[in-house]
């Protein structure tokens, strides 16, 4: 039988069947809710293109490397774009195994509601909506132990069934790597035209070597690259004000990589303990510490992204 996971209960009808989540065998299965919602089924890509027709700009946030600040950046990009109240902004978290966005946006414990027009995303502000698998899990210890095909199904569901409405910007936060989630999001959104990707890195070669792969991935799938952000770029000691390169740019950092690959370096964001603190507390760092060097760096980078998107509109 197709799509019966190895750890499924006996008589599992299969995650793509009409009975998924609804049969008596599904009672007590940890994936029951997700199967019953239809997340694991494989829907029509044309539907996604139609759904995305009301979304003006789509920006992916990528990195080959984990832990460089993709979710942190995505969240703050969304906050910054939504600070213009005339713009409608949405943030989609396709990190199925490690969904950080609900916490960073202060939305832990929120649930998704279904209506006639689809799933309602969770609103942080009137003009800032968020969707993540985090909202579908029943608790903070719930693990999503899914293989590629099920993850792909969820991502399609997010794009097809969420009632996004009219959006100026859809920001998509991704997990690290170049795998199912990345292939899927590019494939499903391609017909609807992605404006581009912002690539996040930290200065050290251990990050850059993974990021170069991500850049190759973008080139392979013909995804335009808006530019690169170097995060965790130096730490200024609050006591003595000396700068330490905790993650040393031993091979020239993002700047050298961008020169070699002829990509724009959108900016460098320094390490600031208040960024991590804001994320843990679910607050916007830009609102909490607006005059910090890091906030200023963020604003400059966001402006570059806005300018890029506007220039795409006029093409």
């Amino acid at each position: 039988m197709a799509d019966v996971p190895s750890d499924a209960p006996e008589h599992c009808p299969g995650t793509t069947s009409e009975q998924a989540g609804k049969s008596s065998a599904c009672q007590g299965c940890p994936n029951q809710t997700i199967c019953a919602s239809g997340a694991a089924k494989m829907p029509d890509p044309e539907e996604i293109k139609q759904k995305m027709a009301t979304v003006k700009h789509k920006v992916l946030v990528l990195s080959g490397k984990g832990g460089v600040g993709k979710s942190t950046f995505s969240a703050h990009l969304a906050h910054a774009l939504a600070s213009d109240e005339s713009k409608e902004v949405a943030l989609l978290d396709v990190d199925i195994c490690g969904p950080s966005i609900p916490k960073i946006m202060g939305l832990e414990g929120e649930q998704v509601h279904q209506s006639g027009s689809g799933w309602s995303p969770v609103y942080v502000e009137d003009n800032l909506a968020v969707m993540s698998i985090g909202f579908l899990l029943s608790g903070p210890d719930d693990a999503v132990i899914w293989r590629g095909p099920k993850k792909n199904g969820m991502i399609k569901q997010f794009l097809r069934d969420v009632d996004w409405g009219e959006l100026d910007y859809l920001i998509v936060d991704t997990p690290p790597g170049t795998s199912d989630e990345h292939l899927s999001i590019v494939q499903y959104l391609n017909a609807a035209r992605i404006d581009g990707a912002v690539i996040i890195t930290t200065p050290q070669e251990v990050s850059l070597q993974d990021v170069r792969k991500e850049i190759r991935f973008c080139q392979k799938v013909k995804l335009p690259i808006i530019g690169v952000v170097e995060n965790m770029s130096g730490f200024v000691c609050p006591n003595c004000k000396n700068t330490s390169q905790i993650f040393p740019p031993s091979t020239g950092g993002a700047q050298k990589m961008c020169e070699e690959l002829r990509l724009p370096l959108l900016g460098r964001v320094p390490l600031d303990p208040r960024i991590g603190k804001s994320c843990d507390e679910g607050k916007s760092f830009l609102g909490e510490v607006p005059d910090s060097p890091a906030a200023k760096a963020y604003h400059s980078i966001v402006q570059s992204i806005k300018d890029y998107c506007s220039s795409r509109s006029t093409q």
Partner: protein
Amino acid sequence: MEQNGEQGNLSQVRRVVLVLSGKGGVGKSTITTELALALRHAGKKVGILDVDLCGPSIPRMLCAGRPDVHQCDSGWVPVYTDAQQNLALMSIGFLMEDPDEAVVWRGPKKTALIGQFVSDVAWGELDILLVDTPPGTSDEHLAVLENLRKHRVDGAILVTTPQSVSTGDVRREITFCKKTDVRILGIVENMSGFVCPHCSECSNIFSRGGGEELAKLTGSVFLGAVPLDPLLSASLEDGRDFLQAFPDSATFSSISAIAQTLLSRLEG
């Protein structure tokens, strides 16, 4: 009855330990590398299996470069990082001709390669095999477990940073371990504070205390905390043995203590 062929390559490996984290970028590869070096310094024969297909970091951290990987009758010959052959390494990084080439594979292909990796590396005699994993709870992790189970899995170390965005993901990894019956050997908190080399002020750049709280919350053992250390980052960048270069550092003490605790947890 185990099949002799598959059992053969891991039959002389005494202990197998996974290094996991739900969260990316917390230092799994760093901790794997440093523990491997510490265990080697303690006289053990160590192997590292790097199953992060998309972002294999270990070769650079051990200055393994881009060696040709050879086959013998029993399978792939691992790359030895020292003349005495006490630290062996196998990584997909070695199989890529172009180091900048992305491995853009979906789950089933990753699963197949990991199966090969786990079964077909001629490790020979090892005291401990450390398995470095990518972040998450998906194809790679299931593939590693399914294949190692034919031999043994002694447990997993979970790596986190102090902040709750990290421990939040690691909680899910702990659930993964419980669901798949993997013994949790303990939690390591990495990037645990930064001591300014100029004025010695300690800054909690990634918050503090999360690792210990997570251990308490989940009933796990707290193995120890490793501070943020630019000298460690620089050593990893260049593939140098940090423990040999900086034996008097606080970081050295933390890592050595964690290695010792790990050994006693494995023997206990």
